[in-house]
């Protein structure tokens, strides 16, 4: 039975990955949940999706890339290092964290992707976990992409020393200008 199941899953994976707009459920969910437009660039190298002959699409792959693709597709279980030539770092991270089998299962429940990924991974190091960016419809690989309010919080925490010095400089400058003006006014009188 095991000999039949494994090839069947592999064939299922191959079929799923080569379809136009493969895994659109996750993108659709992200868009619906966040209310902002998203595209395939969240997980893939090419924003137009995997099918085609442009860079990062299946038609453009050479033999070496094709081998990498097959190897990535065979990463059925969590923990395997993935370097898929049509996925970006976030796509690879999803497969590496969950394994292809779980990814396939989550297609029917795309809301489950965020909790399954957890909150430890932050590929763009913007302070917002990748799973939150998935829910917010922002790019987990672009530190400038994120909900403005969340970015404000994480950046304030990161740059607070700069801000304290800026406030100090502001206060001193305003005090100096005030005293200068008072002196001028007094001199005029």
């Amino acid at each position: 039975m095991r000999f039949i199941r494994l090839p069947a899953i592999c064939i299922l994976c191959l079929w799923a990955m080569t379809r136009a707009g493969a895994f659109p459920e996750f993108q659709r969910y992200s868009q619906r949940h966040s209310g902002v437009p998203t595209d395939c660039a969240m997980c893939r190298i090419n924003p137009g999706g995997p099918v085609g002959s442009e860079f990062g699409q299946i038609g453009s792959l050479n033999a070496q890339d094709q081998a990498r693709l097959n190897q990535a597709r065979a990463a059925l279980n969590p923990g395997q290092v993935v370097d898929n030539p049509i996925l970006n770092a976030f796509g690879d991270r999803i497969v590496q964290t969950l394994g292809m089998l779980n990814v396939l299962q989550l297609r029917s429940d795309p809301a489950g992707l965020a909790p399954a990924l957890g909150t430890t991974s932050d590929l763009d190091k913007d302070g917002i976990p990748d799973s939150t960016e998935y829910l917010d419809g922002t790019n987990p690989l672009d530190p400038e992409s994120g909900k403005p309010g969340l970015l404000l919080g994480t950046r304030l925490a990161r740059h607070w020393i700069s801000l304290v010095f800026a406030i100090l400089a502001l206060g001193l400058l305003l005090y100096g200008l005030l005293k200068l003006r008072q002196g001028v006014v007094r001199g005029d009188e």
Binding site: P37, E54, D142, E144, L151, L152, L178
Partner: protein, 368 residues
Amino acid sequence: MPSPTAWERIGRFFRERFPVEKLSYDELVRKKTVPIHRRSWGYYTGGLVLLFLLIQVVTGIFLLFYYEPTATDASSSIEYLTHYVPNGEFLRNIHAWSASFMIGFLLLHFLTTLAMKSFERPRELTWLAGVLLLFLTFTFGFTGYLLPWNQIAVNATKVVLQSLVQASTFLPGGLARLPLDVRLALQGGESVGQPTLSRFFAIHVVLLPVLLAIILGFHLLSVQLLGMSQGVDTPAKRYERFFPSYILKDLSVWTVAFFVLFFLALSIPFASFLPYPLTEPFYALGPTPAGIKPEWYFYFVYYPLELLPFPVILAGMTVIMIGLFLIPWMFRKSSRRALTALAVAGALYLLIITIFGHDIYQLVRGGS
């Protein structure tokens, strides 16, 4: 006594409005005063526009060190600047935020000077220069928007240039060619591409700055020569010296404004207000992504364009644009109270359409 000739009248008109005899240290520095009254805060709005313009110039020069004005490299050069150049992202954010602040304060300056009736004789030419500066600044915004060559930049530019084709269908006779010629001159070809980018870049970094320097120079000099306008109906009871008292206050305002800009540029990337598919490099073969819009400071014309028939907006905008130049003569006899009401109505329209434009559009059209 013989009546003055046309040339004499013209000469008198310009001498009164541009009194070059006041071009002295005594008049411009020692004797110049600024009225103090309840609307004095309006005097600081022009200075703030100047501050943000100076920031634009300085940060723009630094951006030029890295920016590649080619359709193939523009987007990647900005990505390189943002992610690999030390403080590049901060620099870019300062440029983007200060552009928005500059336009915001320019609109505020326009409305306050309208409410204060600062266009009164002999300040008509100062007003005309100000209106030209307003249009130049919007053109700066429009041309600068294309330069990152990303999805929103190229597609929004296409929409604006396409509207010129639409405009030509409503114009009579030979006038119908004008928008098409303007479009071709800006676009440089049949569609938006490398020639368009080259032209927008040249306009943004050479042509507009030169024009701006000339007109702004005239505007500032005429403000200095004629002094601050009265601003209120009853002449102010108190005055302060322009130098150094007012200048020091102005510097304090600049300091606070610069801190706010620094804080925002450090804390919130300007690009984070856009959905990420719109900031991806422009992909000519792909579909147009959803959510293409101009910058927020064009919403006052963008949403009405989406909701009302094109000829209505075309006629309305033409009347308003011509009307802006004629304000000093149209409202010569209007009271400051009436002008204030007009300015407040204008401010409310700009605020409502900018903040709630999308919601109003959805409400009317019933879609997203």
